[in-house]
């Protein structure tokens, strides 16, 4: 019984190893459910989740907007290539 229970429930150390993957949606459903179950009952791991979630939010918020002029130039360059207009000196085909 206890062995069976241990298989089902994760410990904090195991959750710690899986936490980043869990937060990024990189775990499969089974492991994600196990982590989620642990987080429901574990205050310490729950606080860690909250901190990491805030860090991710902060990083996402700080992502610089791409410079429009750079993006415009690169898209124009890409369209040029798509039209077969390769810059002089770059026409050679790949190996």
């Amino acid at each position: 019984m206890m062995l069976h229970r241990r298989r089902e429930e994760l410990r904090c150390k195991e959750v710690g190893r899986l936490l980043q993957s869990y937060l990024d949606g990189e775990l499969d459903e089974l492991w994600a459910r196990r982590v989620a179950r642990h987080l429901e009952d574990c205050r310490r791991c729950g606080m860690a989740v909250h901190t990491y979630t805030e860090i991710k939010r902060s990083l996402r918020h700080s992502a610089d907007a791409l410079p429009e002029d750079t993006l415009h130039r690169l898209r124009a360059f890409g369209r040029q290539l798509a039209e077969g207009r390769v810059p002089p000196g770059e026409e050679e085909a790949g190996a």
């Binding site: 909250h50 860090i55 902060s58 990083l59 918020h61 690169l74 898209r75 290539l81 798509a82 790949g94």
Partner: protein
């Protein structure tokens, strides 16, 4: 696909597979080079290589294919010249005692202080939105390495934020 492309077909494949990914490639390029001018240069070379190679591309997983080209191009360029790291963006926010801004500033500072390998992975996942597999392709490392570096990178950010003693906002979703 997988058959040699010629003329317009090559161009059509390039337009279909590559052009939609330019923005993402630029984001990743900025994370890799950490300098805007270098990122644009890297992207131009990447697009050229992609154009030359698109006739050998089977059409599946264009993003992964392009990230591989980006990685290879970046690796070659690094061997030729050393790219200066951009300093962490100066925080121009006014003096503010708002907890959220203090938290954001601490996170940004901690990110800037990370060793390059950790910082790059954190940026690719959290700023550029890449999956672990895409990061692995971009950096030419196994997924396990990505996971490990991410774990350590975010762990250091967390430690720095907690050491700064900044209270966190309550969850109010």
């Amino acid at each position: 696909m997988g058959q040699p492309l010629e003329g317009r077909t090559r161009q059509e494949a390039f337009a279909r597979c590559v052009l939609p990914e330019v923005e993402l490639l630029l984001r990743v390029g900025r994370s890799l080079t950490r300098h805007p001018a270098d990122a644009e240069d890297l992207l131009q070379h990447t697009l050229l290589r992609a154009y030359r190679a698109v006739d050998r591309f089977d059409g599946r997983h264009p993003r992964a294919w392009l990230l591989t080209i980006l990685h290879d191009t970046h690796a070659e360029r690094r061997q030729r010249s050393h790219t200066a790291r951009a300093a962490a963006t100066a925080n121009e926010e006014p003096e503010s005692v708002v907890v959220q801004e203090a938290f954001d500033a601490a996170v940004e500072e901690a990110l800037g202080a990370l060793p390059g390998k950790f910082r790059t992975v954190v940026e690719l996942v959290d700023l550029d939105g890449l999956s672990y597999q895409e990061v692995a392709v971009t950096l030419g490392v196994p997924v396990g390495t990505v996971t490990r570096r991410l774990h350590r990178g975010r762990g250091r950010i967390r430690a720095a934020v907690e050491a700064a003693g900044i209270p966190q906002q309550k969850e109010d979703r």
